[in-house]
Amino acid sequence: MTMTIGAPAVEAIELDKVYAGEVHAVKGLSFRVAPGEAFGLLGPNGAGKSTTIGMLNTTVRPTSGRALLGGVDVAEDPIGTRARSSVVFQDTVVDHPLTGRQNLDLHLRLWGTDDAAGRARLSALSELVGLGEYLDRPVATYSGGQRRRMEVVRALVSDPQVLFLDEPTVGLDTRVRHDLFDVLATLRERTGVTILMTTHYLDEAERLCDRIAIVDGGRIVACDTPANLLRALGDEVLELRLNQPEPAGAALRAAGVPPDDILVIGATVTVVLRAHAADDLVNVLRERSFVLRAVTTRRPTFDDVYLRLTGDRIADDH
């Protein structure tokens, strides 16, 4: 398979997937990932992220649309495109009774890279992530963090052009998650691999990705760099907890706050501060006899970005 020079490393063109039972998981999704870029699909469970990755790595058949790796349609050359990519799944996929080396060797052989360069890469990557001394022990004896690092090495040992990471840190404790971030960042720097990852962890997306696409209900509702996505919300937001959030939202709109800058979720009203100061808005509500249980000003987060775009909070879906 010959990759097209200058083509995006990954391209989705109007990808659509309807499962049996009329579950419309992905609705006309389109995006491009440049070679060497780290691209994130951020959204809650059920947003269509894993289905999208499945369509790109040939484990899910699209209902319509095209998925391309390096300009080559995965449907036309599934084996060739799989040879150029690798996947780190949410759950471990290595054989626990076998040693780390046996698992990595299997991956090398299946990807046809079990030559001198492949074995050198196996040694170098294992040492880089601190697994060198554990390679000849059964994976069943590894800690959770070691297994995750094994999974990343396994995926990279075949020297893929594209690395898919499907919720790679779900279920891991904080230290292991951050350890894995470091590993991924270092490996990306050293190998230049293109990364496409799905996650519902906001900090993970912000930390690892050059661009983030926010996915909701099978569609991309925004796609930009983390900085630009956050910039859309300005420097500060006002968060209010009160008994009558809907009327309070109406009062704020009457005071001149644009409707798109007011988010009402449960008993919380979040306001993007642009032309109005926090104190002024608080005074508006107090003058109208609203009882404010809590008042906070803070920097906007990706949760606010997601909330504004979809009306849902990612944390609620964990």
Binding site: M1, I5, D91, V93, L106, D159
Partner: protein
């Protein structure tokens, strides 16, 4: 973590897009996967021993006991050999069924996902597991035949044993294909294990294992002729017991020429195997892509 600047790059020639061309593997994927399956089985001795226990029990204990108890015209040794060979027809389905369980474990524990995103044909996954099942079955067959021979079963050697080998091989391929179909259709281990007796054990009692199929009611005897195990057992006996083994073939075909009847039964087994393996490959490939 200290960041170094030395890149990890391949040393082989690269194409214009900066990557090595995808090379054909010197070792087919099926062999790589068979080696993996064998490596996993070696680490689980029960997987080797458990399928062997029932046939060994039949060959070493039940067959001699039946031979001593039942006054058979052909004699004690002949009946013991008759039943001992039948246990081959029990060992192969049981071992292949166990191998099918390994596929379900792969699916549940996640290893199957790695295999499905590998740059190999999906059929290689089925064939790799099948090769491993055949290797294990061969080993167990050798143990079973040797043990039953030591216990007193009388086998003949010579070129005719090739019929036994061919029948055992084709029957094992067929049974593994069936196990693969079951593992796709019954994805939970509980459902799969519940189905194993119907596939692996029930036919044993109707296929001429403990008595000729002519001893069955007429309609059941006719149905028995449609069972692949009936043909396999007839070939096992023809291959390993000389002229006395032709009776089972004659019970099926009613012809005079033993080689002709043997060829017909082998063709039946091959047809079943081709059909079942094709269905297994199609089902597996379809199940691997949702």
């Amino acid at each position: 973590m200290t960041t170094t600047t030395a890149p990890i790059t391949p040393t082989l020639p690269v194409t214009l897009d900066g990557r090595r061309p995808h090379r054909a593997r010197p070792v087919p994927a099926a062999l790589v996967l068979a080696k993996r399956r064998l490596a996993l089985t070696v680490r689980s001795p029960r997987a080797l021993v458990v399928p062997l226990m029932t046939p060994i029990l039949f060959a070493l204990v039940i067959a001699p006991a039946l031979a001593n108890t039942i006054a058979v015209p052909a004699g004690r040794t002949a009946y013991m050999t008759f039943v001992a060979l039948a246990t081959v027809g029990l060992l192969i389905p049981l071992n292949c069924s166990f191998s099918g369980l390994g596929v379900i474990v792969d699916r549940q524990q996640g290893a199957m996902r790695e295999l499905l995103v590998a740059p190999i044909r999906r059929s290689s996954i089925v064939l790799g597991n099948m090769l491993a099942a055949l290797a294990l079955t061969t080993l167990q067959l050798v143990v079973l035949i040797a043990a039953s021979a030591l216990r007193g079963a009388a086998y003949e050697t010579g070129l005719r044993t090739l019929w036994f080998v061919a029948a055992a091989l084709v029957f094992a391929v067929l049974m593994y294909g069936l196990a693969e179909i079951l593992s796709v259709r019954l994805p939970s281990p509980e459902e799969y294990i519940a189905a194993v007796p119907a596939i692996a054990i029930v036919p044993f009692f109707f296929a001429g294992s403990l008595f000729p199929i002519t001893s069955l009611p007429h309609w059941l005897g006719a149905a028995a002729k449609a069972l692949p195990l009936t043909h396999a057992l007839a070939l096992f006996r023809y291959g390993m017991t000389g002229a006395s083994g032709t009776r089972a073939l004659h019970n099926i075909w009613g012809l005079q020429s033993a080689p002709e009847m043997a060829a017909l039964s082998l063709v039946v087994l091959l047809a079943y195997a081709a059909l079942i393996v094709t269905a297994a490959l199609r089902l597996f490939t379809k199940a691997g892509t949702s």
